[in-house]
């Protein structure tokens, strides 16, 4: 059993938009032997869109509080995040605490108001990095019980899992780990030009049509390349690409009905987990195409 401090983020809460991710992540960890110790009483990371309301320091302070709590509760053990935005916000905060003394000092002035302090040092990691680096491809493949042979999946890495930090060792323009994950389950990763395209992110809320146009291009590319399902590591990507398909069909006269699932769901399914373990019942666009492997 490997233990990590865990920051699930707001979308992974019960009845939140990435509840399916959280559920499948837990199932995945159980199979692999990972214990995720959630930070008690964590707060929102403020996400990238937090810049406008929060500015610099309040925004960074929010992640700093989570670090401080993590250190109090779990010492310096690696902190794992599953949400792209949370992971990015925490990495950014960690970097600025490390490299900018003024920021570190100011953050601590603010943290003091909550009787906390944090000087840096906890390593923030994406769950994907844990799987690759701490377990390795062979271990991931070895768990496969029901190879997803014949399944054509388009790996959609998106933005914030990929930039500006990215999964260690991967290219910003053509990261390969997600394709390798798909292949590790026995499925086929379709070649696909939009794997790091943007889904609109938070602008899906405000610039709906512009963002929907981005997602339309993305879906079209997946369809053109024969994908039956889109697989992603990012809750924002998952939400935007899955939930807005109706809207897109309405706006552009298209007829998309593309299931969009998390890599964790794919693994759980291939590793012999149930439909429910994989939280595939929690898809807005039905993932029935995968039922044949359940």
């Amino acid at each position: 059993m490997k233990e990590y401090t865990f920051f699930p983020g707001c979308s992974s809460e019960k009845n939140a938009s990435a509840a399916n991710m959280e559920h499948s992540v837990q199932a995945l960890c159980k199979i692999l032997g990972i214990q995720l110790n959630e930070i008690d009483d964590w707060n929102c990371c403020s996400a990238s869109i937090g810049y406008a309301g929060g500015g610099q320091l309040p925004r960074l302070a929010m992640s700093a509080r989570n670090f401080a709590l993590a250190q109090q509760q779990r010492g310096m053990t690696d902190l794992v995040a599953t949400c792209a935005a949370c992971w990015l916000a925490m990495r950014e905060t960690a970097e600025r605490i490390e490299h900018e003394p003024q920021v570190r000092a100011d953050i601590n002035i603010a943290l003091k108001e909550a009787d906390l302090s944090y000087e840096g040092g906890i390593k923030t990691r994406h769950l994907v990095e844990v799987l690759i680096e701490d377990f390795g491809w062979d271990a991931l493949k070895a768990k496969v019980k029901k190879p997803l042979t014949g399944l054509k999946a388009a790996g959609y890495v998106g933005c914030q899992t990929n930039r500006p930090f990215g999964i260690a060792g991967e290219s910003f323009e053509n990261p390969l780990y997600l394709d390798k994950m798909i292949e590790a389950t026995g499925a086929t990763a379709v070649p696909y030009a939009k794997k790091v395209a943007c889904c609109g992110g938070a602008l899906m809320f405000t610039e709906v049509e512009k963002s929907c146009a981005l997602v339309r291009d993305l879906l079209q590319c997946a369809v053109d390349n024969g994908a039956e399902v889109i697989v992603t590591p990012c809750p924002v990507c998952q939400l935007n690409v899955e939930v807005y398909q109706d809207k897109i069909n309405q706006l552009f006269g298209t007829n998309f009905n593309m299931p969009v699932i998390y890599y964790s769901q794919l693994f759980v399914l291939a590793w012999g987990g149930s439909w429910e373990d994989a939280a595939l019942h929690q898809q807005v666009v039905s993932a029935e195409a995968l039922r044949r492997f359940a």
């Binding site: 910003f172 323009e173 053509n174 053109d224 390349n225």
Partner: protein, 420 residues
């Protein structure tokens, strides 16, 4: 005077490209003894892979040939090919260097008659053409090669066929092993030059992923009648004639993600390559994407000349990325024209990345021991035991490399005259 000083005072020149050749020949023609060490089987270095020089659009072989003649006529120059300097001990005026000479598997008896090559059935990827074609495992690296003396790839030397190759003069020796020499030298010139920046590292441009994204050095080989297409400008995916072509400047240069410095020659090289295209395809459309056109000093005349070509579109823009049309395999260049503010997504038959110069002294040709000072890019600069010239010292065009190497030849003479 000079002859007296030359006694026992050898100048070691490392690198047999245009810089090393120049330093060696210029020093030897003053009357000094020169040991020229080249790691490849033949001299000429990077320039020998070029089709033409700007601005005169003439062949590098022409100037190289004169330098080879100067070597042939000058007994003071000793050339060691397939050789690398492993260790440097001592100081200016009194160095001992250890040189490893890799086996050539062909002895100096070779008359370059070509019989072995005819019989050889092993084809290997051709490094001289950047792997764009295949070549015999026993060969000369290129037609104008000097010394005109065949060599054999090490892998092939271990094969059974290598032992049975015909040679009228018995020059083939697959059992040849490396030898290590120790030499006393008075001064050392590091002239190891540059390598093209690895275009695969420039991920947004898709080299290696997109079939029809090439590089400037590959394009030089394509244009060359001795190159993989016998000089025809054809695109890799389907052999189609290149009628719509883009050159992208600063592909890897002036970029903190890659080479932070300017490689100096790429703007002019692309202008020159535009003339290759025009020569073959009078109706071709050419686009050059650039940040700043750097046709320094008199090269401005060349820029002005190329600018008279109405078929060239100049776009002040560093493209953001290159996509590929999945069906036609046309590369699509995407970016913003900074003078109009208009975004573009233009497809081409071929895109040529003007990749920059990475000093080999930063990677494969480090100076042994603590004998060199480097700048943060890996160029060998003033302050160490060895002198440096050409593109081992700074990104330079050929004339600049010759100029610097002539100067360093004098510094090497002065240093060799010091008593250690």
């Amino acid at each position: 005077m000079a002859d007296d000083q030359a006694a026992g005072r050898t100048i070691l020149v490392v690198g047999g490209g245009i810089s090393g050749l120049t330093a060696a020949v210029e020093a030897a023609e003053v009357g000094y003894t020169v040991l020229l060490v080249e790691k490849e089987p033949q001299l000429g270095g990077r320039v020998s892979q070029h089709f033409q020089y700007f601005p005169k659009l003439c062949s590098p072989s022409c100037g190289l040939e004169i330098n080879y003649q100067r070597i042939k006529n000058n007994p003071r120059i000793r050339v060691l090919t397939l050789a690398e300097v492993e260790a440097i001990i001592g100081q200016e005026g009194d160095f001992t260097v250890r040189i490893r000479q890799h086996p050539r598997f062909v002895t100096e008896k070779c008359t370059a008659c070509g019989e072995c090559g005819k019989a050889c059935t092993a084809l290997v990827s051709n490094p001289f053409n950047f792997g764009m074609d295949q070549v015999k495992a026993i060969r000369n690296s290129h037609a104008m090669a000097y010394p005109n003396w065949y060599f054999m790839d090490a892998d092939y030397a271990a094969s059974a066929e290598a032992r049975s190759l015909p040679c009228p003069v018995g020059a083939i020796d697959p059992d040849m092993t490396a030898t290590v020499l120790e030499e006393k030298v008075g001064s050392i010139v590091w002239a190891t030059g540059w390598q093209p920046y690895d275009a695969e590292k420039i991920h947004p441009y898709g080299f290696g992923r997109h079939a029809n994204v090439s590089t400037n050095m590959r394009f030089e080989r394509l244009a060359n009648s001795y190159g993989p297409t016998a000089g025809r400008l054809l695109r890799p995916s389907d052999g189609k004639e290149v009628k719509k072509i883009a050159f992208i400047q600063c592909a890897g240069s002036r970029d903190h993600n890659h080479l932070p410095f300017c490689s100096r020659v790429c703007c002019l090289a692309s202008m020159k390559q535009a003339t290759y295209v025009r020569e073959q395809y009078p109706d071709a459309q050419i686009t050059i994407y650039y940040i700043d056109l750097r046709a320094m000093d008199r090269y401005e005349g060349f820029q002005k000349k190329v600018e008279t070509d109405p078929g060239i579109t100049w776009i002040k823009s560093k493209p953001a990325r290159i996509d590929e049309d999945p069906v036609s395999k046309d590369p699509i260049v995407i970016g913003e024209n900074t003078l109009t503010g208009i975004r573009y997504a233009d497809s081409y038959d071929l895109v040529v990345l003007a990749t920059g110069m990475e000093p080999t002294s930063a990677t494969t040709a480090r100076v042994p021991g603590n004998n060199a000072a480097y700048d943060e890019y890996g160029f060998v600069v003033k302050g160490g035991q060895v002198l440096s010239s050409g593109c081992a010292a700074a990104p330079l065009d050929v004339a600049g490399a010759v100029q610097a190497s002539t100067a360093v030849a004098l510094k090497a003479i002065q240093a060799a005259a010091k008593r250690g």
